[in-house]
């Protein structure tokens, strides 16, 4: 009986793990912003930023300030049309 319940539990755990897709573990905002900075050709020195501040204006434009692990601070502008630009501060 014990081995049967163990087998059932093992099967259930395996099934649960396979039902969760590999990409279900979403990236954090800090990682997302760091990737964006690097994608736009700026050095960051790590995969997560710190000191994130976000502002959104009435027109729908978003301005994000963040500091990379290498100490550089960047301004990320996301226009209402979805265009992203990164400028070092």
């Amino acid at each position: 009986m014990n081995t049967l319940s163990l087998a059932i539990r093992g099967g259930a755990v395996a099934l649960a793990m396979t039902l969760v897709p590999a990409g279900a573990f979403a990236v954090t905002k800090a990682e997302d912003i760091a990737t964006t900075i690097m994608l736009r050709g700026q050095p960051c020195g790590g995969n997560a930023v710190t000191d994130i501040s976000e502002q959104k204006d009435a027109a729908g434009n978003t301005v994000i300030m963040a500091t990379c692990p290498n100490g550089k601070r960047y301004r990320i502008d996301v226009s209402s049309a979805g265009r992203v630009s990164v400028t070092p501060l």
Partner: protein, 187 residues
């Protein structure tokens, strides 16, 4: 005995998805390709399905002699690569793909964040602007340089989608189809 069965079950559960993805990516007879279209049947019906064979004649129509020559060179290069890949490779490059379904899958993927997706989109829009400028002869960029930029952008996308191997695999296999779609961009 039961323990052996449970171990076998665990092994099968963990190995099968990875084996399927690998087999799909290598052989070109993947299930994910079909599921992308099957997941969005309405979209698959509405959107134009671009095939390399269909795209090539349209690409050559409106261009000047120089552009036509460079497009022909690119086509010859593509055909040479396809021949080099062999029968399986040729079959995979000739398969139709659904651009909108791929875009939707990138949008829905959890492998990359929202800002990264927007940055990728910005890069793609910049590339499309370059194609438009190329069509209008507004800049001195060559088709070879455009291809290099396209390959660079695709590599970036594939590297970012490392946690979504099925999508990464499908984008990789749709490379020539995406390139031919970009060649159709009107000025």
């Amino acid at each position: 005995m039961m323990r052996l069965i449970s171990i076998a079950c665990l092994g099968a559960f963990f190995l099968m998805p990875a084996m399927q993805t690998l087999a799909a990516c290598n052989s070109g007879t993947d299930s994910t390709w079909g599921t992308a279209d099957a997941a969005t049947p309405a979209m698959a019906d509405k959107t134009a399905v671009a095939t390399p064979d269909k795209a090539k004649p349209e690409t050559v129509k409106g261009g000047d002699a120089a552009m036509q020559a460079s497009v022909d060179a690119a086509q010859q290069k593509g055909e040479a690569e396809a021949d080099h890949e062999g029968a399986a490779g040729t079959a995979s490059t000739e398969r139709p793909f659904n651009m909108n379904a791929l875009i939707e899958r990138i949008k829905e993927s959890h492998a990359i964040g929202v800002f990264t997706k927007l940055a990728l989109r910005s890069d793609a829009l910049d590339l499309i602007d370059l194609f438009k400028a190329y069509r209008q002869n507004a800049n001195h960029i060559t088709l070879h340089e455009l291809r290099a930029r396209f390959d660079g952008l695709l590599l970036k996308a594939l590297a970012l989608l490392d946690d979504d191997p099925a999508l990464s695999c499908d984008i990789s296999m749709a490379r020539e189809g995406i390139w031919n779609s970009l060649l159709e961009v009107k000025a």
